[in-house]
């Protein structure tokens, strides 16, 4: 396994998150940058880099509290893929509180703002990972 692969596998989650966000937010310039970053990994012959099985929420003042409130029941990827208005996020947070998410009443509005800012309707679509492809099944198609 190449040195680059090891580094990539052990990237702090926040850095990994930032890389993903950069691509989503900044368009082609960042796409090119990430391609350059990724190139040594591709040349190492890896099928693709390993993603963490469960994703993490983005940095922000509510990251820790949101992680505690939400990810006891489900991983962050369920949140990362939503693209909702503030009104819709309010309904979701209220539903989840009813279903057992522990959210201090004083944090409610900040939590809605955190989700709305990171996962609003104008954000680019979330790109999910895949499970590795088995070569044998590809050949049999």
């Amino acid at each position: 396994m190449s040195h680059e692969m090891n580094v990539s596998r052990h990237l702090p989650s926040t850095l990994h998150w930032l890389k993903v966000r950069l691509v989503q937010v900044s368009g082609m310039a960042s796409v090119v940058m990430v391609l350059i970053l990724r190139f040594p990994i591709c040349s190492a012959g890896a099928q693709s880099t390993a993603a963490t099985p469960v994703a993490e929420l983005p940095p922000g003042s509510m990251q820790a509290k949101a992680t505690t409130a939400c990810t006891e029941c489900h991983e962050a990827r369920i949140i990362l893929q939503q693209r909702l208005s503030k009104a819709a996020w309010t309904k979701e947070v209220d539903k989840m509180v009813k279903w057992g998410a522990v959210v201090d009443a004083n944090d409610h509005d900040a939590l809605v703002d955190y989700f709305s800012a990171n996962f609003g309707v104008d954000q680019p679509q979330f790109q999910p990972p895949r499970t590795p492809e088995k070569k044998s099944s590809v050949q049999s198609k």
């Binding site: 691509v23 469960v54 991983e75 369920i78 939503q82 693209r83 309707v121 590795p132 088995k134 198609k141």
Partner: protein, 388 residues
């Protein structure tokens, strides 16, 4: 009609042509996000790891039966952490003369019936609605076709003796419910429960169900939304009315009348989802593909829940003209039909559409009917490709 071998050959040639020239952006998106290994799952899109929700990439829809490692997985809760098949029991109670329980061995002694069924999550295609709605953001691949086998639900119910008061049949699974989340419990009307094709399935494509698909037994309610087919089944209860719970209302309900996109709908103006809509998906060429001029097979799958596919039409000019596709030979009452259309494009940019019509005369609409939970997306499918 061409032979099955020709049909499959055509599909596989097209798949090769497409895989040789994949879309730059689809590759990029893939490498960006890396991979997550899940034993038994092959090249699946990970919508969520916990709960597990896996989507099939559309290019896999080129076989009539979807191999289990390519079959979508939709879990509402955590899978059972411990499940000992020797201890497993299925209880049958409620509005019955004699409540009864079956072990797996006892269940296996009841006559087995097989149904090839296209199973589709009600939320398949949710990500394509605008405005966007909350829920798992499925693309086009929360659907698959498999041969499900096991005893008929009605044979099991008859052993308990359904009372005249029995109007609905409720299923409870062994999935583990976190927090104060309501359990995933739904019911189906007694008429559908007693249908000869409604099963307690123990096998999928000839092998015992895998854990992700409900081992050791699941309900199989053919032609209906996937949520009707409860996994890890442990209780069948006959009720005198529809089950009352989150996953019957407000979950899995559909507006009685068209809704202006973005508007709310009152619960009393909705009904529970049952059968699937008429729908087709293009499995090749893939969106964004770059192809060489010459022979190209446009292909995919089409299904219509409890209804049959009457025809699939293809447009290669963005909907100005339509040509009829050839339907694959393999068919079964609740199963999709594969289809293909042989095309000879010259260089250029193309928008390819597919439109299915069923035996009831239902045709895929240009725009799917928006609804607050994003169910039953079935707009005419579309891919854009470049030929040079």
């Amino acid at each position: 009609m061409k032979s099955r071998r020709d049909f499959l050959k055509q599909l596989s040639n097209a798949a090769l042509a497409v895989s040789a020239a994949p879309s730059f952006f689809s590759k990029l998106a893939f490498s960006q996000s890396g991979s997550v290994s899940i034993p038994g799952e092959d090249g699946m899109i990970v919508r969520s790891f916990r709960f597990l929700d896996l989507e099939t990439p559309v290019e896999n829809f080129n076989t009539w039966l979807t191999p289990v490692p390519h079959f979508f997985v939709r879990n509402h809760m955590h899978e059972p952490s411990e499940l000992d098949p020797s201890q497993w029991k299925l209880s049958v109670g409620g509005e019955v003369e004699k409540p009864i329980a079956f072990s797996l061995a006892e269940l296996s002694k009841i006559e087995t019936h097989s149904v090839v069924n296209t199973l589709e999550c009600a939320g398949n295609g949710r990500s394509l609605y605008r405005p966007q709605v909350p829920g798992i953001q499925w693309g086009k691949g929360a659907v698959g076709t498999a041969k499900f086998s096991g005893p008929r639900l009605r044979d099991v119910l008859q052993r308990a003796g359904v009372k005249q008061t029995g109007k609905h049949v409720m299923f409870r699974g062994l999935d583990e419910v976190p927090g104060k989340v309501p359990a995933f419990i739904r019911s189906i009307p007694i008429e559908k429960a007693l249908d000869a094709d409604t099963l307690i399935a123990t096998h999928m494509n000839g092998a015992p169900l895998t854990k992700h698909h409900g081992f050791p037994a699941r309900a199989l309610v053919p032609g209906w939304i996937g949520a009707a087919s409860c996994k890890w089944l442990t209780e069948v209860k006959v009720l005198d009315s529809e089950f009352v719970g989150n996953f019957m209302s407000p979950g899995y309900r559909y507006p009685n009348a068209p809704v202006k996109p973005g508007n709310a709908v009152k619960a009393e103006d909705t009904h529970p989802l049952t059968a699937l809509s008429v729908k087709s998906v293009i499995s090749g060429p893939l969106d964004g593909a770059v192809l060489k001029p010459g022979k190209v097979s446009i292909h995919g799958a089409a299904w219509a829940g409890e209804s049959e596919i009457a025809k699939v039409e293809v447009s290669t000019d963005g909907g100005t003209s339509w040509k009829q596709a050839v339907l694959g030979r393999e068919q079964a009452r609740y199963a999709w039909r594969l289809w293909s259309y042989a095309w000879q494009p010259k260089a250029g940019e193309y928008t390819i559409l597919s439109r299915a019509t069923d035996s009831q005369g239902r045709t895929q609409p240009e725009t799917a009917a928006w609804n607050p939970s994003g169910y039953l997306y079935n707009a005419i499918d579309q891919v854009k490709i470049h030929v040079s």
